[in-house]
């Protein structure tokens, strides 16, 4: 399927958000995810089905002021 991941179009074979993270080698307790502008909690990722052209944001901590 085609997804918009962090603003960039990508083709990934993934049925759920957890599948997508695994497929793209994302790991770590510090990641936060949102699909189509809504937060998806860590524990909800494996049960969260993805659709064609879903907009997925994957954020992690960085320096800030």
């Amino acid at each position: 399927m085609t997804f918009i991941i962090n603003g960039e179009e990508q083709q990934v074979a993934a049925a759920t958000l957890a599948d997508l993270l695994t497929a793209l080698d994302y790991e770590g307790e510090w990641l936060a995810t949102a699909v189509n502008g809504e937060l998806v909690h860590r524990e909800e990722r494996s049960g969260f089905p993805l659709g064609e052209r879903d907009r997925i944001e994957i954020l992690s901590p960085m320096q800030g002021g």
Binding site: Y26, L39, S60, P61
Partner: protein, 257 residues
């Protein structure tokens, strides 16, 4: 002691974590400053998700409280979603709410700020709004549920120091019981001392420390200045006068002619 949303903190310095020459120097500055609270951000993670992990562990190892921010957000929906994602990552309901309205001055969009503050307060967040020194906006933020206000004293990163002292004085006088933290615009320790002398409760700094030639030493300088300003505020300062007043008593003065 300073209380922020019922949490007592010792240090009146809140420190940003951006723009240090290295993670080791950031850690040294945090330790030297004796700060209790650091601000951090969230950004898109590149594939693999390892960059954020190293920083996450660095911050966790410092053992300080984290105040995540919504830096770089320009709309209510961006700020609200970023706040929710930050709560997920950092397991805290504290959020430094920034909604930027102008690219050149990084002035907050106060209308969006008030709206986002209301939404987030309603969802259980403890909002620390980055705002201007406008009293009406401050009132609206308090009505929206904020229990702390963080006015700028000059544009972010400008190092100008307080550009509108009368406005800061009015703010302090208008909200005597609300913790007021000056966020943004401080360039040097004397600026921090000045706002603390006015009775502000704390100062949030980043660039002034991170951009110094020796960030750890500058962090210590700021800590000293903030303590001095706070002590002076409680000690009661003289008001300036137009004419000289002799400090040495004139009674008993010898007359030689």
């Amino acid at each position: 002691m300073l209380k922020l949303y019922n949490v007592e903190v010792q240090s009146r310095l809140l420190l940003g974590t951006a723009r240090y020459p290295s993670p080791a120097i950031l850690a040294e500055a945090v330790r030297t400053s004796k700060t209790d609270i650091v601000t951090v951000s969230l950004r898109r993670e590149t594939v693999g998700g390892k960059a954020g992990g190293a920083f996450f562990e660095l911050i966790r190892d410092l053992g300080v409280r984290v105040l995540p921010n919504t830096a770089g957000c320009h709309t209510v929906s961006e700020a609200v979603l970023t706040a929710k994602m930050a709560r997920e990552v950092f397991s805290t309901d504290w959020i430094k709410l920034e909604v930027i309205g102008n690219h050149d001055t990084l002035q907050p969009d106060v209308f969006a700020l008030v709206e986002a503050a209301g939404i987030l307060s309603g969802e259980g967040f403890k909002v620390f709004p980055y705002t201007t020194d406008d009293l009406v906006v401050a009132e609206r933020l308090l009505e929206a549920g904020c229990k702390v206000l963080m006015p700028w004293c000059a544009p972010i990163g400008s190092a100008m120091g307080p550009v509108n002292l009368p406005a800061l004085r009015s703010m302090r006088a208008s909200f005597p019981d609300v913790p007021l933290i000056v966020d943004a615009g401080i360039g040097r320790p004397s600026h921090a001392a000045t706002v603390m002398e006015l009775g502000f409760d704390a100062v949030l700094l980043n660039t002034a420390v991170a951009g110094a030639a020796d960030p750890a030493a500058m962090a210590a300088a700021f800590t000293g200045a903030i303590d001095a300003g706070r002590t002076a505020f409680h000690a009661g300062m003289l008001e300036p006068r137009d004419m000289a007043v002799p400090s040495t008593p004139v009674i008993g003065k010898a007359v030689f002619s």
